[in-house]
Amino acid sequence: MKVNLVYFAWVRERIGKGEEEIDLPDSVVTVRDLLEHLKGLGEEYENAFQYTNVIRVAINQEHVEHDEPIAGAREIGIFPPMTGG
């Protein structure tokens, strides 16, 4: 499955890019699986996803929990807790 990933704030800075398209193995079913998979893609990813419990995720621009399935996602946003307002 191919998905577009978009990164923001320190997640973006640590990974070193704002977006990428990646091909996921079938074993990646939920958001949690995705974050664990990304963690294994290299030092910069390991650095960004050291503490996955603080990471927030949006599928198709809507917030989701970590147990959400990612099937059918066109765009997955990955970012730290929000600090706007």
């Binding site: 704030a9 949006a58 730290p80 929000m82 600090t83 706007g84």
Partner: protein, 152 residues
Amino acid sequence: MTAPTIRVQSENFDLQVEIDALTAGRKDIGAVVTFTGLCRDEQGQLFALELEHYPGMAEAEMRRIADLAMTRFSLLGLTAIHRYGKILPGENIVLVIAAAPHRQAAFDGANFVMDFLKTAAPFWKKEHAADGTAGEWVPAKDADDAAREKWR
């Protein structure tokens, strides 16, 4: 029910202009509450804040929050504007305007939108120090999550 006005922009805003746009030609609005969030200087050490956002989702999330507030507090109008880019101490960051027949609904509407906007709208602040050193990302506050809980 008028649809909320939602904008994400780099430019500043003028409160009176925004209120006039919301209330023009109407005679049913008795109360307008605005909240403006400004960039504070942390003991003279801040040169600027840099506001990053998730284009598309920022507007969508602000609209979801605004729609919730319109229904929950029976508002007659709502405007939410959030700036992005470099913002200096003393400058505006965010504006929420809630209009209602009576005052408590307008106060609650604006307060509710701010509590949810802080914790759910995809914006992030980075601090640039006055001495030119590399900026730090502002950490999320537990107090902001707690503030949101009061609406459950």
